[in-house]
Protein backbone atom coordinates (compact mmCIF):
# COMPACT_ATOMS: atom_id res chain seq x y z
CA UNK A 1 0.00 0.00 0.00
CA UNK A 2 1.27 3.43 -0.93
CA UNK A 3 -0.80 5.02 1.83
CA UNK A 4 -0.55 3.69 5.37
CA UNK A 5 -1.38 4.47 8.95
CA UNK A 6 0.98 3.86 11.83
CA UNK A 7 0.62 4.05 15.60
CA UNK A 8 4.36 4.52 16.00
CA UNK A 9 6.95 7.02 14.84
CA UNK A 10 7.23 6.99 11.05
CA UNK A 11 10.35 5.15 9.91
CA UNK A 12 11.41 7.61 7.23
CA UNK A 13 14.62 5.71 6.53
CA UNK A 14 12.73 2.62 5.37
CA UNK A 15 10.03 4.66 3.68
CA UNK A 16 12.57 6.58 1.62
CA UNK A 17 14.19 3.33 0.48
CA UNK A 18 10.90 2.30 -1.14
CA UNK A 19 11.21 5.30 -3.46
CA UNK A 20 14.74 4.65 -4.69
CA UNK A 21 14.95 4.31 -8.47
CA UNK A 22 17.98 4.39 -10.71
CA UNK A 23 16.09 6.71 -13.03
CA UNK A 24 15.17 9.19 -10.27
CA UNK A 25 17.24 12.35 -10.00
CA UNK A 26 15.02 14.18 -7.53
CA UNK A 27 13.38 13.24 -4.26
CA UNK A 28 11.09 15.51 -2.23
CA UNK A 29 9.65 14.70 1.16
CA UNK A 30 7.20 16.53 3.36
CA UNK A 31 6.75 16.09 7.10
CA UNK A 32 3.91 17.56 9.12
CA UNK A 33 5.13 18.37 12.65
CA UNK A 34 3.07 19.08 15.76
CA UNK A 35 3.31 22.84 16.27
CA UNK A 36 3.10 24.52 19.66
CA UNK A 37 0.34 26.88 18.55
CA UNK A 38 -2.73 27.05 16.35
CA UNK A 39 -4.98 30.02 15.72
CA UNK A 40 -3.60 31.87 18.70
CA UNK A 41 -3.90 29.00 21.17
CA UNK A 42 -0.93 27.26 22.80
CA UNK A 43 -1.01 23.60 21.87
CA UNK A 44 0.49 21.03 24.27
CA UNK A 45 -0.29 17.77 22.45
CA UNK A 46 -2.51 16.22 19.79
CA UNK A 47 -4.55 13.12 19.16
CA UNK A 48 -5.14 11.76 15.69
CA UNK A 49 -7.96 9.36 14.96
CA UNK A 50 -8.71 7.82 11.57
CA UNK A 51 -11.38 5.79 9.85
CA UNK A 52 -8.59 3.57 8.59
CA UNK A 53 -10.50 1.19 6.35
CA UNK A 54 -11.76 4.03 4.16
CA UNK A 55 -8.65 6.13 4.80
CA UNK A 56 -6.25 3.71 3.14
CA UNK A 57 -8.54 3.42 0.12
CA UNK A 58 -8.83 7.18 -0.29
CA UNK A 59 -5.11 7.60 0.35
CA UNK A 60 -4.33 5.04 -2.36
CA UNK A 61 -6.58 6.94 -4.75
CA UNK A 62 -4.67 10.15 -3.99
CA UNK A 63 -1.32 8.50 -4.72
CA UNK A 64 -2.83 7.06 -7.90
CA UNK A 65 -4.07 10.52 -8.90
CA UNK A 66 -0.59 11.95 -8.32
CA UNK A 67 1.05 9.23 -10.43
CA UNK A 68 -1.36 9.98 -13.29
CA UNK A 69 -1.07 13.73 -13.02
CA UNK A 70 2.69 14.11 -12.66
CA UNK A 71 5.52 12.22 -14.41
CA UNK A 72 6.97 10.83 -11.18
CA UNK A 73 8.55 7.48 -10.32
CA UNK A 74 7.17 6.60 -6.88
CA UNK A 75 5.11 8.15 -4.10
CA UNK A 76 4.26 7.10 -0.58
CA UNK A 77 2.39 8.62 2.36
CA UNK A 78 2.34 7.46 5.98
CA UNK A 79 0.05 9.07 8.57
CA UNK A 80 0.44 8.70 12.30
CA UNK A 81 -2.53 8.02 14.59
CA UNK A 82 -2.78 8.16 18.38
CA UNK A 83 -1.31 10.63 20.83
CA UNK A 84 1.47 12.96 19.64
CA UNK A 85 3.76 15.37 21.44
CA UNK A 86 5.13 18.68 20.21
CA UNK A 87 7.57 18.30 17.26
CA UNK A 88 6.38 14.74 16.60
CA UNK A 89 5.85 13.84 12.97
CA UNK A 90 2.14 13.53 12.14
CA UNK A 91 2.46 12.71 8.47
CA UNK A 92 5.18 11.92 5.94
CA UNK A 93 5.00 12.14 2.15
CA UNK A 94 7.82 11.12 -0.19
CA UNK A 95 8.06 11.38 -3.98
CA UNK A 96 10.86 10.45 -6.38
CA UNK A 97 11.02 11.51 -10.02
CA UNK A 98 13.42 12.00 -12.90
CA UNK A 99 13.34 15.79 -12.52
CA UNK A 100 12.82 17.85 -9.41
CA UNK A 101 9.92 20.09 -10.46
CA UNK A 102 7.50 17.20 -10.67
CA UNK A 103 8.61 15.80 -7.32
CA UNK A 104 7.86 19.14 -5.64
CA UNK A 105 4.49 19.48 -7.36
CA UNK A 106 3.39 15.92 -6.68
CA UNK A 107 4.47 15.99 -3.03
CA UNK A 108 2.59 19.26 -2.47
CA UNK A 109 -0.46 17.86 -4.27
CA UNK A 110 -0.48 14.69 -2.16
CA UNK A 111 -0.33 16.43 1.21
CA UNK A 112 -3.03 18.93 0.16
CA UNK A 113 -5.33 16.14 -0.95
CA UNK A 114 -4.64 14.01 2.11
CA UNK A 115 -5.59 16.91 4.35
CA UNK A 116 -8.87 17.39 2.51
CA UNK A 117 -9.95 13.91 1.56
CA UNK A 118 -8.69 11.31 4.01
CA UNK A 119 -10.93 10.67 7.05
CA UNK A 120 -8.50 11.69 9.79
CA UNK A 121 -9.38 13.89 12.74
CA UNK A 122 -7.15 15.91 15.02
CA UNK A 123 -7.94 16.86 18.58
CA UNK A 124 -5.80 19.65 19.96
CA UNK A 125 -5.08 20.00 23.66
CA UNK A 126 -4.30 23.52 24.82
CA UNK A 127 -2.23 24.94 27.64
CA UNK A 128 -5.34 26.55 29.13
CA UNK A 129 -6.88 23.11 29.68
CA UNK A 130 -9.30 23.25 26.77
CA UNK A 131 -9.28 20.89 23.86
CA UNK A 132 -11.08 20.65 20.57
CA UNK A 133 -11.51 18.77 17.32
CA UNK A 134 -9.98 20.91 14.58
CA UNK A 135 -12.49 21.97 11.89
CA UNK A 136 -15.39 20.63 13.94
CA UNK A 137 -16.17 22.41 17.14
CA UNK A 138 -15.73 25.91 15.85
CA UNK A 139 -17.48 25.49 12.54
CA UNK A 140 -20.21 23.49 14.21
CA UNK A 141 -21.35 26.54 16.11
CA UNK A 142 -21.15 24.42 19.25
CA UNK A 143 -19.95 26.09 22.45
CA UNK A 144 -16.23 26.10 21.68
CA UNK A 145 -14.30 23.74 23.94
CA UNK A 146 -16.92 24.13 26.64
CA UNK A 147 -17.78 20.46 27.01
CA UNK A 148 -14.11 19.62 27.19
CA UNK A 149 -13.17 21.51 30.32
CA UNK A 150 -11.25 19.29 32.70
Amino acid sequence: MRFRFTQFAVDTYSARRELLDLGAGGYVSFEGWVRDNNEGLEVTRLEYEAFQELGVKEGERIIGDALQRFPIKHALCIHRVGSLELSDMAVWVGVSSAHRGEAFDACHFIIDEVKHRVPIWKKEHYRNGDSGWVNCERCAGAPVHAHEHA
Partner: protein, 79 residues
Protein backbone atom coordinates in the same frame (compact mmCIF):
# COMPACT_ATOMS: atom_id res chain seq x y z
CA UNK B 1 -33.46 -3.54 9.59
CA UNK B 2 -30.20 -3.87 11.45
CA UNK B 3 -27.30 -1.43 10.78
CA UNK B 4 -23.81 -1.17 12.19
CA UNK B 5 -22.71 2.38 13.00
CA UNK B 6 -19.17 3.51 13.78
CA UNK B 7 -18.50 6.90 15.36
CA UNK B 8 -15.30 8.91 15.14
CA UNK B 9 -13.84 12.01 16.73
CA UNK B 10 -16.38 14.60 17.91
CA UNK B 11 -19.29 12.35 17.00
CA UNK B 12 -17.82 9.47 19.01
CA UNK B 13 -17.65 11.75 22.02
CA UNK B 14 -21.16 13.09 21.50
CA UNK B 15 -22.63 9.61 20.99
CA UNK B 16 -20.63 8.31 23.96
CA UNK B 17 -19.61 5.21 22.03
CA UNK B 18 -17.45 4.22 19.08
CA UNK B 19 -19.86 1.72 17.56
CA UNK B 20 -23.27 0.19 17.91
CA UNK B 21 -25.65 -2.13 16.16
CA UNK B 22 -29.00 -0.48 15.62
CA UNK B 23 -32.53 -1.59 14.75
CA UNK B 24 -33.97 1.14 12.54
CA UNK B 25 -36.52 1.98 9.85
CA UNK B 26 -34.24 4.67 8.38
CA UNK B 27 -34.28 4.15 4.62
CA UNK B 28 -31.24 6.28 3.80
CA UNK B 29 -28.16 7.71 5.53
CA UNK B 30 -29.98 11.04 5.58
CA UNK B 31 -32.90 9.57 7.53
CA UNK B 32 -30.48 7.75 9.80
CA UNK B 33 -28.58 10.94 10.62
CA UNK B 34 -31.83 12.65 11.58
CA UNK B 35 -32.75 9.75 13.85
CA UNK B 36 -29.35 9.67 15.55
CA UNK B 37 -29.17 13.44 15.94
CA UNK B 38 -32.49 13.34 17.76
CA UNK B 39 -31.01 10.72 20.09
CA UNK B 40 -27.47 12.06 20.65
CA UNK B 41 -27.78 15.78 19.97
CA UNK B 42 -25.02 15.86 17.31
CA UNK B 43 -23.97 19.47 16.80
CA UNK B 44 -22.66 19.05 13.26
CA UNK B 45 -25.12 19.94 10.52
CA UNK B 46 -25.68 17.25 7.92
CA UNK B 47 -24.21 19.61 5.29
CA UNK B 48 -20.87 19.52 7.11
CA UNK B 49 -20.60 15.76 6.92
CA UNK B 50 -19.88 13.07 4.40
CA UNK B 51 -21.15 9.57 4.81
CA UNK B 52 -19.65 6.17 4.08
CA UNK B 53 -21.54 2.91 3.65
CA UNK B 54 -19.54 -0.32 3.84
CA UNK B 55 -16.25 1.62 3.88
CA UNK B 56 -16.90 3.60 0.73
CA UNK B 57 -18.15 7.16 0.29
CA UNK B 58 -21.87 7.15 -0.36
CA UNK B 59 -24.72 9.35 -1.46
CA UNK B 60 -27.01 10.53 1.33
CA UNK B 61 -30.04 9.20 -0.56
CA UNK B 62 -28.66 5.70 -1.15
CA UNK B 63 -31.12 3.04 0.08
CA UNK B 64 -29.76 1.20 3.10
CA UNK B 65 -29.90 -2.56 3.43
CA UNK B 66 -29.82 -4.72 6.51
CA UNK B 67 -26.25 -5.38 7.58
CA UNK B 68 -24.85 -2.18 6.10
CA UNK B 69 -22.07 -0.45 8.05
CA UNK B 70 -22.55 3.32 8.20
CA UNK B 71 -20.01 5.98 9.17
CA UNK B 72 -20.69 9.69 9.34
CA UNK B 73 -17.57 11.69 8.50
CA UNK B 74 -17.06 15.03 10.25
CA UNK B 75 -14.83 17.66 8.60
CA UNK B 76 -11.39 16.07 8.32
CA UNK B 77 -8.13 17.48 9.61
CA UNK B 78 -5.23 15.24 8.67
CA UNK B 79 -1.59 16.26 8.43
Amino acid sequence: MQLKIHYYALMREQAGRSEETLETFAATPEDLYGELTARYGFTLAREQLKVAVNSEFSDWARPLSSGDAVVFIPPVAGG
